[in-house]
Every structure is written in C-alpha cells, then in structure tokens.
Symmetry: C2
Subunit: 194 residues, 2 copies
Amino acid sequence: MGGLLRGEVEPGSWLRQDDLAGQLGVSKIPVREALQRLAGLGLLRFESNRGVVLPELSAAEAEENYALRRGIEPQMLERALPRLSIVDFAEAELALEADGLSLTEANWAFHRALYRSSGWERGLSMAEILHVAVAPYVVLYTEYLGGGTDSDAEHAALLEACRRGDTEAASALLLGHLDHAQQALVGFLEAKES
Amino acid sequence: MGGLLRGEVEPGSWLRQDDLAGQLGVSKIPVREALQRLAGLGLLRFESNRGVVLPELSAAEAEENYALRRGIEPQMLERALPRLSIVDFAEAELALEADGLSLTEANWAFHRALYRSSGWERGLSMAEILHVAVAPYVVLYTEYLGGGTDSDAEHAALLEACRRGDTEAASALLLGHLDHAQQALVGFLEAKES
DNA sequence: AATCAAATAATCATATACGATCTTGTCCAT
DNA sequence: ATGGACAAGATCGTATATGATTATTTGATT
C-alpha cells in the first residue's frame, strides 16, 4: 500500500484482490475495504465486476492537481510558519537528505513537515492525496529523464526562508516551486500524450 | 447515504452496520465497503472494534473548511466562467428555487452548477466533501436560529455576475460569500463550544 | 443505596463459500 | 487465415457464519 506513495504501482494496472490478500495473509474482505478507502481518496477506481485499477493521469489532470496545491498549500505554510518548531525543521532537513526514502516519499515528508503545525488535518490529507496522485509520474520524470534537480535547490531555499520566519518569501518560493514542478510534469505528460 | 449531504445524520452518532444493512436489504459487507469509502472521503471515522461515527466539527475545523474552499472554489469558478452554458445557468437557477431539495443539497447544487464546467473532477469532489462536512451544522444554524437569509441574496448576485461574464466581480462575490458563511458558522460553533 | 464483578447481550471484524460476471482459449465455419 | 460461437478458467461481489471485542445488565457485597 505504501507502494502507492512511492509511485511503484504502474498507472493503468489492475490490483488483483486475491493476490493482495495472499501477500498480506488475510482474506479479501479487509483488502477490499482498504481499497474502498483508497477509492474514496480518489487514488483508485472500482470498475464494476472488473476490479480495481490505478487511474492514469492526463496532462490536464496534472495541471488541476498543481492548481489545487497552489490553492491550499501556501495557506497551510503561512499558518504553520510562526509555529514551526525545531522538530519540524529537523524533519524537513532529514527529508532533504532522504535516506531510506524514495524520491516521492521524501518529497511529501518535506512538505508535510512545513505544513503540519498548521493543524489543518483535512488540508494535510488533501495535500497528501495530491502528492500521491502524481507520484508515479514524478518517478518516471525524474528517474528516466533526469529532471527535478532544481527541486532540491528550491526545497533548500524554502526551508531557509522558513527558518528566517520570512512568510512573504516562503510563500513566494513555494508558489514558484509548484509552478516549476507543474510546468515540468505537465510538459512531460503532454509530450507523452502526443 | 444521501442523508449525509442533507445534514440529517447527527454528528457524534454511531452508524450501526446491521441497521443499515437491514434498511438496504443487503448484508453488512457492501455496507462496510460503502462506509469505508466515506471514511476515505473524511466524512466518517472508523473506531476499531467500536464501529463508525460521524465526527463532530469544531469551530477550528469549520474555519479550516472555509479556508480550503476559498483556496479552490474561486479557481474553479474563474476557469468555468467562460465556458458556462445555458444548462449550467438553468441548473443554478433551479437550485435557487430549491424545490424538493434540502437547504444543503440546494446549496451544493448551486455551487456545483457554477463550477462543473471547469472540468476539474478532483476539485469538484473536494469541494463537495467540504460542503457535506458542514451540512449538519448549516442545518442547525439556519433552521434553529434563522440565519442564512443573506446567503440567498449573495447567491443571486453571484449568478448575475456569472451571467454578465464578469470574472472579477464573480470571484469577489464568491470570496465574500464564503467569508460571510464562515463568519456565521464559526461564530455559531464557538458559542456552542463555550 | 452504592459499587464492583461477573454474566449476558450486542456489535464488530474477518474467514469461508458460492453465484455472477468477465476473460481467455478452443474449435468450427466461412 | 479470419471471424464468431462456445466452453473453461479466472476474478469479482456478497451472503452466511464465527471468533473477538465492547457494551449492558444483573446480582452480590459493603
């Protein structure tokens, strides 16, 4: 299941309930319930009498994804900024070093560390969904095409602005970061679609 | 299940699986799966070995709710505005008359009509969740305390701005509408909490 | 009368079983 | 060879049944 956040499940692939049940050593019932939860999150789709599929993401949907992130993440950051603790900074720092974490896991761990003190449970959950939804494509984009190296620099700059308590700068850096990531991924997907 | 959108289920109440199964004439398995989907949407909470409960909403969570709506709904409205068709206007108009619809159902039907042409499936689903989450309290607030009469006027003004194709005005009216609704509901909840 | 313990009842969570639906392979006709 | 009808296999969706956990009642003791 964590494979979803790691972007390891290929979009368009079918999740066989008996297989998952076997791997986990349980019956299909709890497996199906977990899959329904993920379907509620919008990460999977049930197709009647055919099973569960990981939906593919169009360029337009990726664009929507980042637009929604721009709508909610800066609010969370601004709200969290004055309350950020040394623990939050340490967690963000650790995510930048990214030991033992996949690229997409580290990505979300970094952002979450900066947002968590906002106290917005629903916003955090929505942001996580948006991160997970693009994970397989971010993996594709960065690992196969060598993109995303400037993402690290942007993360570092954002963290630094947060350390200074500079709300204006941090908010602007986050928006720019999201713009860049959107541009890269949407471009990648548009090329792939044509 | 639609009872959730109508705000008819009391927050804090437990949803008995056998009862629901009996009402629907099915076994508990599909009922539990549907509840898991709603739990994935964040509308219900499973408590281990105790069942499913409709969570209560704090004033802080209501504040978050409206902040998230301000983050995503204006984007959807601006994107949908140039593509709004006569069908969308008719649907919004019908929702204002609200025949056969509960207050909260009509509310969401109106907003959805104005957002749908944005083509943002995920954004629509997120907005709907945010609407449903406050539904029981909006019902409480309006039916028991006679509030929300200015909401109708704001809806009408917003629809008129959309008809004129005035993006600026529509966006501003929507933000103001959300601010008013937030103020009213958060105030109500804060009074209730103390 | 109040309190605690144990028994009873209610409810949950999941394994098993089975009919329904979809997929795949085979065979025949063209 | 190609296409279509049929059969065999795989997979899904849910009813039933059962052990586990929690809630409620009962009854004894102080």
